[in-house]
């Protein structure tokens, strides 16, 4: 079992303190050791997708849904960390190179 919790944290977009890094390194060893029993299992069976009952519908908007009302829109905007004129503000994604 090779794992590097620091690089996994990079993939998961989480800063890791040294304390948490030490905790996770130990936990990963224990947990992966525990789930390892699956690799002993000889699998002939074919994997079929889980049986979820999934339904399809026409791709049309629910125009009259109260969830898309102005008051809901306002409530959602209020939960945002930073807005400007009804838009969500994020840090710039593109960087100037020159």
């Amino acid at each position: 079992m090779d794992y590097d919790v620091k690089s996994i944290a990079g993939l998961a977009h989480i800063n890791l303190s040294e304390e948490r890094q030490a905790m996770l390194t130990q936990d990963f060893g224990n947990i992966l050791g525990y789930v390892k029993s699956l690799s002993d299992l000889d699998l002939e069976a074919q994997t079929i997708p889980t049986y979820h009952t999934s339904t399809l519908r026409e791709d049309i908007a629910f125009e009259d849904n109260p969830r898309f009302s102005e008051s809901t829109k306002k409530a959602i905007l209020e939960e945002m960390p930073l807005t400007e004129e009804g838009y969500l503000v994020v840090k710039s994604v593109l960087k100037k190179t020159v």
């Binding site: 800063n15 690799s39 889980t50 930073l82 994020v90």
Partner: protein, 479 residues
């Protein structure tokens, strides 16, 4: 405190109690007991009394009411109620106010149930003790030095301590059934797809299911019949066939004579407490006297259920919790960060407690390039074999019986620093979620000290049989 919604319902109709009186009694119990138990994250005192008053007025004017109308209920704080906080007991959502009602909430509101508050849970429903809450642990009403189970421990404690008649929880690997067993309440996890999860803060979407806690099986059945049904907002919710609908009079009256219950040999291994075993044997003996037949059955992949669960569940957790990124809602380090990447990384580091962190990390690892096939791919295959084990057994028997938990409630602090020990709490409950079948935990007929529960499972959508068998023992307990 009357511990039956049917009896309370009758008392409203024959005017021996008012809704205000019952709701006040529940609120006063919260005031006197919850300082010690800490089942609630928020209590809606004024709103509950206001609603009680409205129903009392309706009753005094000769209006008719439904079975849940005026019944005080609590809701796990992972389920959204518009205009109220929904924290999932996490710093990440400490200041988040829900912008819409979950489908189960819409249904409960339409039925006139009175929501008295939101209940504590392990952060993002991850845990088996309710110690992982960012807002402090919940204590077991039967012994406050012990855990109430988890993750829906606030829900189980609220019902057990008469601080609500019903509670709505969620169960991904045992989070309704195990806390029910540890607190002496009834906890029902319906078939995957029976109840809409729209508005439940998702943990592992292929396993999550909403269900009720109650004092007795009939109350749980009434609640299920209100909250179940297909929902256009949850594509995995199923349309129930006529034969799958609940018939509560049928549950009450049906004979269990001639029904067959399987005892899976793989579950009766070393490690079950003698007291738990003894209480279960008494239940089995009572069933036999009622004419139920018992047969030994085999679920050969049982030992792989917990390892399979601890691959599939974290994989889905890492995906579902990717949405908490400090951008749109929840805790955000936007102001303190230099660039977009730092907003994500700093917000997530600050918002998530250790258990969500552990599971996000594990999930990220098992889904990462080079490891996907050997972990996640393999676990999905084993899940399929576990499901087949059950469908094969249900060709022979109507239900399966096991203990819900191998032991009674453990001490607060006993397992909190040992993730694997905590994960093994789910040993008798996870297979049900992996197979998508329904399961219920019912208090045993007697116990020596702390509460003990037994678990029944049936095939998909066979809740009628599940509840009929559960009620056969439950009504003896109440006699």
């Amino acid at each position: 405190m009357i511990r039956s919604i049917e009896t309370i319902h009758e008392s409203y109709i024959n005017k021996s109690h008012t809704v205000t009186k019952v709701v006040t009694e529940v609120l006063d119990t919260i005031t006197s007991k919850d300082g010690e138990i800490h089942a609630y994250t928020e209590v809606f005192r004024e709103q509950a009394l206001e609603q009680a008053q409205i129903i009392d007025t309706k009753l005094s004017q000769g209006g008719s009411i439904g079975i849940l109308e005026g019944i005080p209920i609590s809701v796990k704080d992972a389920i959204l109620i518009e205009g109220y906080k929904a924290t999932a007991s996490s710093r990440m959502l400490e200041n988040y106010t829900a912008t819409y009602d979950a489908t189960v909430i819409t249904k409960l509101k339409n039925a006139g149930a009175i929501i008295v508050g939101k209940t504590n849970l392990d952060e993002f429903a991850m845990g088996a003790s309710t110690e992982n809450s960012a807002f402090g642990a919940t204590h077991n009403p039967a012994d406050i030095s012990r855990v109430p189970g988890g993750s829906s421990g606030g829900s189980s404690a609220s019902v057990a301590a008469d601080m609500a008649l019903i509670s709505i929880g969620s169960d991904t690997g045992g989070s309704i059934r195990q806390p029910a067993a540890l607190t002496g309440t009834v906890g029902l996890k319906p078939t995957y797809g029976r109840v809409s999860r729209f508005g439940l803060i998702a943990m592992a979407s292929s396993l999550d299911q909403i269900g009720p806690f109650a004092h007795n099986v009939i109350d749980a059945a009434h609640t299920l019949s209100i909250i179940e049904g297909q929902d256009s907002m949850d594509a995995t919710s199923a349309q129930l066939e006529q034969s799958q609908l609940l018939d509560i009079e049928g549950i009450r009256r049906a004979e269990v004579k001639g029904l067959r219950i399987g005892i899976p040999k793989e579950y009766f291994i070393d490690g079950i407490d003698a007291d738990v075993r003894k209480s279960l044997d008494e239940v089995i003996e009572t069933y036999k006297q009622l004419g139920v037949e018992f047969v030994e059955v085999s679920l050969p992949h049982t030992e792989y259920a917990v390892p399979t669960y601890y691959i599939i569940m974290p994989a889905e957790v890492s995906t579902n919790l990717a949405r908490f990124d400090g951008i749109r809602y929840g805790l955000s380090e936007l102001q303190q960060s230099q660039d977009l990447q730092e907003v994500y990384k700093a917000s997530r580091a600050k918002g998530f407690g250790n258990e969500p962190l552990r599971r996000i990390m594990l999930g990220t690892y098992v889904l990462s390039s080079g490891y996907y096939a050997s972990y996640y791919g393999k676990a999905k295959q084993v899940q399929d074999m576990i499901r087949k084990d059950f469908t094969e057994v249900f060709k022979e028997v109507d239900a399966i019986i096991t203990p819900t938990s191998p032991h009674t409630a453990f001490k607060i602090g006993e397992k909190v620093n040992d993730p694997v020990a905590m994960y093994l709490e789910d040993i008798f409950t996870v297979a049900t979620n992996l197979a998508g079948i329904p399961g219920i935990s019912v208090p045993t007929l007697s116990h020596n000290g702390l509460p003990i529960g037994f678990q029944l499972m049936t095939n998909h959508f066979q809740e009628q049989t599940l509840l009929t068998l559960a009620n056969a023992i439950d009504k003896i307990r109440y006699e």
